[in-house]
Symmetry: C2
Subunit: 284 residues, 2 copies
């Protein structure tokens, strides 16, 4: 992955800033949420879906979520002086507070909106597929937090950084040994013509692109199945691919010692997704 | 709890600062550790033990831990201009980095050392005991993270803030329904003369005071047992108490509908702990 040198720009509660209060609960407890959104030719891909997830997750964590228009104003401000393609990262924390887990009545959420350069992924990853492996570090189990894109991401960090260096993505298991997702993506596989993705019972992030892939596949008349998945299910798949908001879809060419012959389903879905993404991009 | 108005003072990497880089991985992923240390009459209580835990945990998370002397210099600097009693909070993160879970080779850990006022807990909590309840929100399960005082503390936040308002502390269960700890403390109970505390198999923080309580009780000839604990075990205990570095020991007078008659063991241990703490406080 190459990153260009366009400087990042960040707004904290609407104001240009590179520094955050050291008392923010986002730092002390990971007490917050985030979204990573692709900005393409001045348009935000799946903005409605990202905002809706942020709002729903904030409700679950009982963090007050600012209105959509407030984030849109921030993003418009960032776009005035910056390239029109890149990554918008939103972080919403419960704000600053006194020491201790109890939330003070006066604390106001912190809204961070950051524009940075789009990572330049190798074109071969899309055309020929990536190398993937199984991560040793497993995801923490908690049905009450499963699906939510919260800031407690130590599992993903530890899994990513103990993964074989030659791998572009790793497969993470939950505490039961079930397959959940990639370190930074959701996972799909094809077996006997059926599209499978793991149920997110105890862990995992319910990705915006995950939802789109399921909807597009169903629209195309494919059979789709969300269920418990074992490593053996993945190892005997006909095709495997990963999804996230920035990469789109990455087919897998090599999983541990296994070479996968086909990436055809992934490429067909990727083409559909590219069109759909354009139709669901918001001009602010 | 009352908090006095002595202003906080914070050093980030040794320099007075109230703001942290918005790119710090502590914020983005909870990628770091913390320690909360009691400062009493210019002396740091159990400083060796706190530093040792920080160092061991940093090794587990593969974060480079600065030498003890570096933290000691920070604390000496803070003490020059401040009251000699309060709370020292240390946060150690993996530092700033590019977007993404992968750790860049150039990233340097961030060292935050903060001095704030000692919370003034109600003297009745010690003399007559507190009210406690069971938390609905359960701890995430992950043996690879159990015991470590890391920054992924969303569980503690959610548990604390859904606890009955009249309770000073809540009891947290793991995903199996076993008792683990308090929201901000470790838990002990006495049953038929034996001191019990939960094993921290899948979750929980291995508190510095937890270790001291076990050692002091063993020294006094008490039988001690670390094992799996059910809510029923706690509900049928003769005595229950909580421990942490700031509160010391809090006996429980009321747990849900149950009134506990005795706080004698807790008070005996608390007196021993107060003496031991003084003997194990470090002058910097």
């Amino acid at each position: 992955m190459q990153v260009d040198n366009t400087p990042k720009r960040t707004l904290i509660n609407g104001i240009d800033a590179e520094y955050l209060s050291v008392d923010d609960r986002g730092l002390h407890y990971g007490d917050g949420l985030f979204e990573t959104i692709k900005l393409m030719d001045g348009k935000l891909c799946y903005w409605q879906e990202h905002y809706r997830r942020l709002q729903t997750s904030a409700q679950t964590l009982r963090i007050a979520c600012p209105p959509q228009s407030v984030f849109e104003q921030d993003i418009r401000n960032l776009l005035q002086s910056s390239p029109d393609t890149g990554v918008i990262k939103i972080i919403l924390t419960r704000g600053s507070g006194e020491r201790g887990y109890a939330v003070s009545k006066t604390s106001q959420p912190t809204r961070i909106v950051q524009l940075s350069a789009m990572p330049q992924y190798d074109e071969q990853f899309y055309q020929q597929g990536i190398r993937a492996g199984f991560c040793q570090h497993r995801l923490s189990a908690n049905p009450a937090l499963a699906g939510i894109k919260h800031l407690n991401r130590l599992d993903n960090v530890l899994a990513r950084n103990t993964l074989d260096k030659g791998c572009q993505e790793g497969i993470m298991l939950d505490q039961q040994g079930r397959v959940v997702e990639g370190c930074m993506s959701n996972l799909f596989f094809i077996k006997q013509g059926v599209l499978h993705t793991p149920a997110l019972r105890d862990a995992g992030v319910d990705g915006v692109i995950r939802q789109q892939v399921l909807a597009l596949a169903a629209e195309a008349g494919w059979s789709c199945r969300i269920s418990d998945v074992t490593p053996q299910d993945v190892l005997t798949a006909d095709e495997i691919f990963f999804s996230n908001s920035l990469i789109g879809l990455w087919p897998v060419r090599q999983l541990d010692d296994i070479t996968l012959a086909s990436i055809a389903h992934c490429q067909q879905l990727a083409a559909q997704l590219a069109r759909h993404e354009k139709d669901h991009a918001t001009s602010l």
